[in-house]
């Protein structure tokens, strides 16, 4: 008599429980936090640089240290910063950079500044984003000739790095958090407040009269058809040599001449490259994927000739070059001494 009397409420309650739960029908399920459609301003081809993202300073500092760390390379001689010179325009001033054991790379080094705003990475756009891009130079036998195993082994054995990773990520160095640190550093490498940006924000006299003339010509001649957007380029592909055979005129051959064809294997993509950003272009000579053009004037004339089918006058060239100088922004804040935590 006693046993069933005490087991009954238990049984009844257990029966009762699943029922109650199910009546809390899909109560106010919140949708995912999806990004809102960005209403692009269609009245301007350009947009000023945004503020640098709010990355944790310790993580950015770690990314900087990794960026400068030569011991990540195969023979411990080359760091990211060896070719992406942070004291120049984020790239070096040679046509083709030299990797480990003095080997030359396949293409001119693009700047690392503002690179987070490019729609794809590399001249041929083979990496979707910076996280994707990092493995490229790290493992390229002509560049750093290293590998993730080697990099992680080094970082785990280094007491200094191990402590910093533990402090910031609460774990050992891994491919994911090394990438995260480098990307957050690179995301911070924006060069804001160029005269052009100030001009876009309504400060008309930020551009000199010649620069304003250059801006007009830049738009009128059609440069803007490819070099536009927030990064003044870097948001589309284009075929090099639409109205002239650049490669024939230059002579010789470079491994990177094939362009996107090497990625897609589609013949229509031969000589198709990612349009480079023109921000800080005055600081990143030499120019083009092969680095064969030494001056900005020559680069402008080349573009007019091969892409637009125009022969520019000396004045037009000077005006456009003057405008391009207005695209040089401030040094990234995270590279300023006050921004460093070392």
């Amino acid at each position: 008599m006693r046993f069933p009397r005490q087991i009954l409420p238990v049984a009844a309650t257990l029966l009762l429980i699943p029922g109650t739960g199910c009546y809390m029908q899909h109560a106010n399920a919140l949708g995912p936090n999806l990004p809102k459609a960005n209403i692009a301003s269609i009245d301007s081809a350009f947009a000023p640089l945004p503020d640098a993202p709010n990355e944790p300073p310790e993580k950015v500092a770690l990314g900087l240290a990794l960026f400068r760390e030569k011991r990540l390379s195969g023979d411990r001689t080359i760091a990211c910063a060896s070719c992406h010179d942070l004291n120049a325009g984020g790239s070096d001033h040679v046509a083709l950079s030299r990797g480990v054991r003095g080997q030359t790379g396949g293409a001119n080094t693009p700047t690392v500044f503002n690179s987070s705003l490019n729609f794809r990475q590399f001249w041929d756009g083979r990496a979707a984003d910076l996280a994707d891009q990092i493995t490229g130079p790290l493992t390229d036998p002509k560049e750093m000739a290293s590998g993730w195993d080697q990099v992680l082994q080094f970082l785990r054995e280094s007491p200094e790095y191990r402590d910093r990773f533990r402090q910031i990520f609460g774990e050992e160095p891994s491919r994911a958090n090394v990438t995260e640190a480098l990307v957050s550093f690179e995301n911070s490498l924006l060069t804001p407040n160029s005269p052009f940006d100030r001009f876009l924000q309504g400060e008309t006299h930020a551009l000199a009269p010649q620069q304003r003339r250059g801006y007009q010509k830049f738009r009128a001649f059609g440069c803007v058809a490819c070099h536009q957007g927030v990064n003044v380029g870097g948001n589309m592909y284009q075929s090099l040599g639409l109205l002239g055979d650049y490669f024939h005129d230059r002579g010789g051959s470079f491994p990177s001449d094939e362009g996107r064809f090497r990625v897609t294997g589609n013949p229509v993509d031969r000589h198709v490259f990612r349009v480079p950003s023109l921000r800080n272009v005055a600081l990143t000579a030499p120019y083009f994927h092969d680095g064969q053009v030494a001056t900005l004037e020559q680069a402008v004339r080349n573009m007019a000739k091969y892409q637009l089918g125009r022969k520019l006058s000396g004045e037009d060239t000077a005006d456009i070059v003057a405008f391009l100088h207005s695209l040089t922004g401030e040094r990234p804040k995270c590279l300023e001494p006050s921004g460093k935590k070392e």
């Binding site: 006693r2 009397r5 005490q6 009954l8 409420p9 238990v10 009844a12 309650t13 029966l15 009762l16 429980i17 699943p18 029922g19 109650t20 739960g21 199910c22 009546y23 809390m24 029908q25 899909h26 109560a27 399920a29 919140l30 949708g31 995912p32 999806l34 990004p35 459609a37 960005n38 692009a40 269609i42 301007s44 081809a45 947009a47 729609f119 979707a128 009128a220 001649f221 059609g222 803007v224 058809a225 490819c226 536009q228 957007g229 927030v230 990064n231 948001n235 589309m236 592909y237 284009q238 075929s239 639409l242 109205l243 897609t264 229509v268 198709v272 892409q307 637009l308 089918g309 125009r310």
Partner: protein, 537 residues
């Protein structure tokens, strides 16, 4: 008040029930929270996935809109197009994992999703190629637009104007007719050699080529394949979700019934427990009162038994004594008669002043006393006449008794205090015997007060429930407690020698007991108070 065993057990079982109930409630709350969380998170997953589907569709449309905007010669919007493309790519990967798709629907869904991703990839690749060609078209048309003025007034002006407008028309509508028109003007101008025209023709050919290519690319972009793929993917997912929902509905219906049943069960159980508890409590209470009643009854029975035993002992003692006394009385009566006769003869034969006469008189009075004692003994020994009892009033019994001793009391200056309140009460008895009893008591009282300062005797009758009490109280000194227990014994007397036989009280006691009553000395009284209690008629 100490708790009985049953109560303790009930309290313990109540505590256990309470603990079990609390444990059940806690388990119920925890499980409900877990379940509700599960249901909510499942609903959230579903909503989130459906939102992602909708969003992917929106992004897909947005890409198409941006392409149209870019094509319609508005300002470049490739940043926006690049962002939308990237989101479309990311969403594709995200849509690969819908929440809770059953085995049977998994393969069709995976197929549809793969098809969708293929379509989206193709579309995005086409968009990139579109951007290339569109820029080319834009630039060349722009070039032709800026060079227009340099041909003013020249012979090629009209041809150029025709070509330019044809190219514009073709760039807007890539129809075969427009192409043929433009191609015709290219050929016409082609016969003219100037280098400026050569550049124009180069641009024109570029435009013609690029527009044709762009139009092919647009066919891919606007094929609606990704839309179809999205629709079929969404349909498979939603059908699966609806199917699952209808199963879940049945499941919930069952659970609802079970819940209802369980609640009813629980309620019935609690009601049953409650009523059982109350019954038990009532039972417990009545049990206690019954036990108390029984105990009282038992105690009464016990005391009655004790009384009976005492009476029996007394009766057997009395009967033995009676028989003996009867025998003695009979044996003594004849010699006593001879002694009395002879003493009278002696008295009569001698002169009145002879000292022997006095002795003879002493003999006579002694013999009288002896015969009195013997009469008393005989009365005591006699079990009493077996006449049937009659109803008489207490007052008549008292009055009869007083008729025997009233004169004596008056002579001794004893104040008779007669309380007549209970005189009307009736008893069932043998009146002569009861009169004898009362007379005994009154005689004792008269003797007791004879030396007291204040002389009074109080007689009264009263009713106590179903008993009638006759009491005789006198102003004499109280009976010392040392002898109280002996006063009922035969031959016990405190009167001076020769005055009392010591049989009065014991005879009276016997008579009263034979009537089913009691005779006792009231211990509460400050004086001497005897009480006769008889059952009321």
């Amino acid at each position: 008040m100490p708790r009985t065993f049953g109560e303790k057990r009930m309290i313990r079982s109540n505590r256990l029930n309470l603990l079990v109930a609390i444990a059940c409630v806690i388990i119920a709350i925890v499980l409900t929270v877990v379940l509700v969380k599960g249901v909510i998170s499942h609903a959230e997953e579903h909503t989130s996935y459906v939102t992602a589907l909708e969003y992917a569709d929106t992004i897909d449309n947005e890409v198409e809109n941006e392409v149209l905007l870019a094509r319609a010669f508005l300002l470049p919007n490739y940043d926006k197009l690049a962002t939308s493309s990237r989101e479309a790519g990311l969403l594709c990967a995200r849509l690969a994992t819908p929440p809770d798709v059953r085995q049977q629907a998994r393969d069709p869904f995976r197929e549809a999703h793969q098809r969708y991703c293929r379509e989206i990839d193709a579309k995005l690749a086409a968009v990139e190629r579109f951007k290339v060609k569109n820029a080319v078209v834009r630039n060349s048309l722009k070039y032709l637009g800026t060079i227009e003025e340099t041909f003013r007034g020249l012979p090629y002006d009209l041809g150029f104007q025709h070509l330019y407008s044809d190219l514009l028309a073709y760039s807007l509508d890539a129809s075969a007719d427009n192409y043929a028109e433009a191609q015709h003007h290219v050929r016409q101008l082609g016969h003219s050699p100037p280098p400026a025209i050569q550049t124009v023709l180069q641009h024109a050919r570029l435009v013609l080529f690029a527009v044709r290519e762009r139009s092919d690319i647009e066919k891919t972009i606007f094929s609606g394949n990704s839309d179809k793929a999205m629709r079929s993917m969404r349909e498979i997912y939603l059908r699966e979700y609806r199917d699952q929902e209808s199963i879940a509905f049945l499941y919930r219906l069952c659970l609802f019934s079970l819940t209802f049943l369980a609640v009813a069960l629980l309620l019935a159980l609690f009601l049953h427990l409650h009523s059982t508890k109350e019954k038990l409590a009532a039972l417990n209470e009545s049990l206690e009162s019954r036990v108390a009643q029984r105990t009282a009854e038992l105690r009464e029975a016990l005391s009655e038994l004790e009384n009976k035993q005492t009476q029996l002992l007394h009766a057997s003692k009395m009967s033995a004594l009676g028989e003996m006394a009867g025998g003695i009385a009979h044996e003594i009566n004849s010699p006593l008669a001879a002694i009395s006769l002879n003493a009278e003869i002696i008295e009569g034969a001698l002169p009145a002043d002879s000292p022997v006469v006095a002795s003879a008189r002493t003999i006579l009075s002694t013999v009288t006393r002896i015969s009195k004692i013997i009469t008393g003994l005989r009365r005591f020994a006699r079990s009493g006449p077996k006449d049937p009892p009659v109803r008489v009033s207490a007052g008549s019994i008292i009055a009869d008794s007083l008729s025997f001793c009233g004169e004596k009391m008056k002579n001794s200056f004893i104040d008779l205090q007669r309380d007549t309140t209970g005189d009307a009460e009736e008893v069932l008895c043998q009146p002569e015997q009861m009169t004898q009893v009362l007379l005994n008591l009154l005689n004792n009282a008269v003797d007791a007060v004879s030396k007291a300062e204040k002389k009074w005797v109080r007689v009264r009758a009263e009713r106590r429930e179903n008993k009638i009490r006759l009491s005789v109280e006198d102003s004499g000194p109280p009976i010392p407690s040392a002898i109280r227990e002996k006063i009922m014994q035969p031959f016990f007397t405190t009167k001076e020698a020769g005055k009392g036989t010591g049989l009065g009280l014991s005879i009276s006691h016997g008579i009263v007991a034979a009537h089913g009553g009691k005779l006792w000395l009231d211990p509460q009284s400050a004086h001497t108070r005897f009480v006769v209690e008889l059952p009321a008629a």
